[in-house]
């Protein structure tokens, strides 16, 4: 998650203080991702170093500052976004994040290995993971129960988690069905066909893409 760009987005609305940025970040992400104030200031310092934000003292109205600018412990420094910061933010919004898979997805590895370990029922292993994932989904759904659907940011975050977990459950279902069919046809992992060299090269390129 890019705290850096989230802060730039908040500053694109106008100059703000650090504490204010933290509160607004948490509110706009459905309060699901807590952010400590130290992280906010470290990020702001880096943004300032990179010329993406600059000091804007006196530019923030007092009533916009949590506890007031003179509140005990309240840092005095306000920031505003620079032109370079706005350009960076616009660019970031459009560039797809890296969604290439990790080189060795751990759950996929577990299922592949379970097929080969003697005395292991791969379907039982798959079910154990399925149960765990659905349980996790139940916990996320519990969070939705308290909300009547008016907190849209929160709903977006929870939906993203639920869809992500759901896709893993679906993969397990598909893997389960594929293995059942293959085993019924007499397949064993020892009898895997060898891929041709060009096919092998393509597979590896895809598998280690970062």
């Amino acid at each position: 998650m890019s705290v850096r760009h989230a802060l730039l987005a908040l500053l694109s609305e106008g100059p703000k203080y650090g504490l204010q940025l933290r509160e607004e970040f948490e509110a706009r992400t459905g309060e699901v991702w807590p952010l400590n104030v130290g992280q906010v200031y470290t990020t702001l310092q880096r943004l300032e170093r990179d010329g993406l934000v600059e000091a804007a003292d006196g530019a923030v109205a007092e009533h916009d500052v949590p506890g007031g600018p003179g509140a005990p412990g309240a840092p005095q420094k306000a920031f505003r976004i620079t032109e370079a910061g706005s350009a960076e933010l616009t660019e970031w919004l459009r560039v797809p994040p890296d969604l290439s898979s990790p080189p060795r997805d751990e759950l996929v590895m577990k299922v592949l290995v379970a097929v080969t370990v003697p005395g292991t029922d791969v379907h039982e292993i798959i079910q154990a993971h399925r149960t765990y994932l659905v349980q996790l989904m139940q916990e996320w759904t519990r969070l939705k129960e308290d909300d009547d659907g008016t907190d849209v940011a929160f709903a977006l975050v929870v939906d993203a988690e639920l869809f992500r977990l759901d896709s893993v459950v679906r993969w397990l279902d598909a893997a389960d069905a594929r293995l059942r069919r293959a085993m019924a046809d007499g397949w064993t992992p020892a009898r895997a066909p060898q891929a041709t060299m060009p096919a092998l090269a393509r597979r590896r390129r895809m598998g280690v893409r970062q």
Binding site: W33, Q127, T131, Q138, L143
Partner: protein, 238 residues
């Protein structure tokens, strides 16, 4: 209080070489106020489990207890009364009668149960209003959206204080927003004391349930433990 209890339920279709064991030794109990979701691939016995729980079909062995009464020991008339008064059914394709308005569809089971048509109609309107469908009461099913039709079907299933709701892929044909609305609704009824079994292959919908059980080749192979409060998620994150 346990509304539904399945005790060692088995179901066999056919004989000899054509014999199919649809359910094997199923034990499941659903207390009032609880939603249980049943997940499993097609052919795992999910729908059979639901029709047996709803007394629409008899098990080959085992007992179906509804509100403490053994369904097998009931007369045909008593069982029919149970199906009219205690159990509500929701199906994937809604099963609304096309020639009746939304309100008439909802009030029909009450009228069939002997309630005066005026009282049944008022109860039907009230059930629709509860679901935010008061202004759709006079519309026919083909004048409603898919999501509205399914909500009418749920109103029909719960009207008249029924204690057991049985739903087979209740949001199968709906998009995810409408699907969630349907599950929220069933969830709300459960919080008011209804017991429900929802059969689904969709993990997102199943995750609305208090407990999810997994069916495979007619057996219950696993179930989720009742989830901890949301606090555990926050601990995990920090």
């Amino acid at each position: 209080m346990t509304v539904l209890e399945l005790r060692s339920i088995s179901k066999v279709y056919g004989r000899g070489a054509a014999e199919v064991q649809a359910l094997r030794d199923i034990n499941l109990s659903v207390p009032a106020g609880t939603m249980v979701a049943v997940m499993g691939p097609s052919g795992s016995g999910k729908s059979t489990l639901l029709t047996i729980a709803g007394t629409l079909e008899e098990p080959t062995s085992g007992a179906v207890m509804i509100n403490g009464q053994d369904a097998a020991a009931m007369s045909g008339a008593a069982k029919a009364r149970l199906r009219r008064r205690t159990i509500g059914y929701v199906f994937q394709d809604f099963n609304l009668l096309p020639g009746l308005t939304a309100a008439e569809n909802v009030s029909l089971p009450l009228e069939l149960d002997g309630m005066s048509s005026r009282r049944a109609h008022l109860a039907g309107i009230k059930a629709l209003e509860d679901l935010g469908l008061g202004d759709r009461a006079a519309r026919f099913p083909d004048q409603l959206s898919g999501g509205e039709r399914q909500r009418v079907a749920i109103a029909r299933a719960v009207v008249g204080e029924r204690s057991l709701l049985l739903a087979d892929e209740p949001s199968g044909a709906l998009d995810s927003v409408n699907g969630e609305a349907v599950m929220r609704l069933i969830h709300t009824y459960c919080k008011r004391g209804t017991a429900a079994i929802v059969v689904t292959h969709d993990a997102q919908l199943a995750s609305w349930a208090d407990r999810v059980v997994f069916l495979r080749d007619g057996r219950l192979v696993d179930q989720t433990v009742p989830p901890a409060g949301p606090e555990s998620l926050l601990e995990q994150q920090s």
